[in-house]
Symmetry: C2
Subunit: 347 residues, 2 copies
């Protein structure tokens, strides 16, 4: 078989504001790959099926000299993220042709060779629940679901009857948080950025759901709060409103601050002084730190609940790797409805 | 005996910036009291000996309609705070003439009647350690000491060899925090607002001590950090610098934010987004919430350590209740050297 084009999404320029498809990322078709003969060096050849577009990717689009918890993308190289692929060829007995694998560093390209020393980044998916699409393993049963589940278990300390406020409630993380909070017997206030999303928040069980673009957050929290738990995916003005509406000893779970990702001038939070008097407990976290403690119970509970329909999720699909730059921007702008996935190829 | 003047410090106006002695508080001598005949209604008559000037008093100088953790002062009435007095007369068997008592709500006046139903706010001081002055019970052995001790025990989670940064290190709270951190085997960076105070920080054992008014905090923390524990008495720019210098999973103990107490325009902390990526654990606290858990061990350990000289403390005395308004302002401006006490009367 002749070599085939191996399209890739390259990181080409560090954005100052929002990422710009075609400028900060470029879809490149200059490379080819010989699928039958490309050397594997004891590794495997993967065909990419689905890739994830997550809010945190914006933080990786930075100057590599700035060190943070996440690895910066390399200019001129394909970006990478959580994804699912299928094994086309293997030289390692742990991986068989046709196996489905997930990886937290799957390159944004159609085909990838994982060398022997890189095989630790691949996990064979068993998919015990045949009715689940592979894409759930980059969504509700993958990193975003784990973020919601593990962050909630570690930091929420919910007591029945308390009030939780969940931001970006229609996203992959927020959507599961709402359901976990309801399962724990809480009153849940949830926000999102469109009326369509707000309808979905109600489907997920939120007691109070509102569009933060048309209804002032402060007004809702004043009426429906005070709040005992704040799940923060947003930061900035929303963080400030949550402080104002917080009960004594409220727990703030700081998962993300997307309101500040695409600007050089972060919002001025003016009420930080209340952290002391309200005895707020504010926990920043990265899900990677919680896997050791919660991975087993996450894998036991969540896929089962999703397969039975007890746990709801929604996906928003972008078709084609050539549109992945747009899919990344969609998430930064909140234009997605549910977990944004990029369908790169069918089986 | 004829009635005597009962001087009082009245709260007369809500300050917008710093409190102004003679304006926001006024020393009033219009009242008299007949010490022998004033009715006690089953209570006690107390002569005030020492009163405490604490940073948090500024927060009580507010519109009483605004509810926070602390009780607002009433306009036209004497302010109150932690203090020590001596019992002149008693109609309750639990208090004897000559007993020394501490109270967390001793009025800023020379003589006070505590009625039967108010006796719960008085504690008889045993003073097992005869070399200690009564004033320590409003300082290192009182509320400020308890704040340092209990906040540290609850939230610091120190590991030997870690780095702590303590602000307002020469104050009543910060001074004990430095010593607790050293006892736990930490490297301690401490700051204060004058060279004299900085010399005292070194006496307390701080490994790195600096005057934040002449040396940029960021520069010191960049050189001597990163930090694992941040004891915040200051907030604002200092909080921002601590976030920048924080290690992954650093603990921020939010005890006070004096930089924001006397201004209507709080500092713009611009790096709150790092709370997530650095997995910061930020705990606001009020010592009152920790007494139940730590009071016994505090009373067992701290007075003993102070009496033996193992625990150091320093006091800055203002003489005369007529100067108490100035003593309150001193603490807001950081003009005190060590725990500010107001000596109202001798025995």
């Amino acid at each position: 078989m002749a070599p085939v084009t191996n399209g890739r999404l390259l990181f080409t320029e560090i954005p100052t504001g929002y990422p710009e498809p075609g400028k900060t990322t470029v879809y490149d078709t200059s490379q080819t790959i010989d699928l039958e003969n490309v050397p594997l060096d004891g590794g495997v050849l993967i065909k990419t099926l689905v890739l994830s577009s997550d809010p945190y990717l914006r933080g990786r689009m930075r100057d590599a000299k700035i060190k943070t918890y996440s690895v910066a993308f390399q200019l001129g190289e394909p970006i990478d993220n959580h994804g699912v692929g299928v094994v086309l060829r293997s030289e390692d007995p742990a991986f068989k042709e046709g196996d489905h694998v997930s990886s937290h560093k799957l390159p944004f390209q159609h085909y990838s060779v994982f060398k022997k020393e890189e095989l630790g980044t691949l996990q064979v998916l068993k998919n015990e629940y045949k009715n689940l699409p592979w894409s759930v393993y980059i969504g509700v049963c993958g990193m975003p679901g784990a973020t919601a589940y593990m962050g909630w278990k570690e930091y929420a300390h919910p007591k029945k009857g308390e009030v939780a406020y969940v931001t970006a409630g229609s996203g992959a993380v927020g959507g599961l948080v709402i359901q976990l909070a309801k399962a724990d017997g809480l009153k849940v206030i949830a926000s999102a950025g469109s009326d369509k999303k707000v309808a979905y928040l109600r489907e997920l069980g939120a007691d109070v759901a509102f569009n933060y673009k048309t209804v002032p957050v402060n007004k809702v929290l004043q009426k429906e709060g005070p709040i005992d738990i704040y799940w923060d995916n947003v930061g900035g003005e929303s963080f400030e409103a949550a402080i104002t509406a917080a009960n004594r000893l409220a727990r703030f779970i700081e998962c993300g601050t997307i309101s500040g990702y695409n600007t050089q001038t972060p919002y001025h939070v003016k009420n930080l002084g209340l952290i002391v008097g309200k005895e707020l407990q504010i926990s920043g976290f990265i899900v990677g730190s919680l896997y050791a403690k919660y991975e087993e119970q996450f894998h036991k509970e969540i896929p089962k609940g999703v397969a039975s329909g007890e746990i709801k999720y929604s996906e928003d699909v972008t078709k084609g790797l050539e549109n992945a730059g747009e899919a990344i921007l969609d998430v930064q702008l909140g234009r997605n409805n549910g977990k944004k996935i990029i369908r790169v190829a069918n089986e």
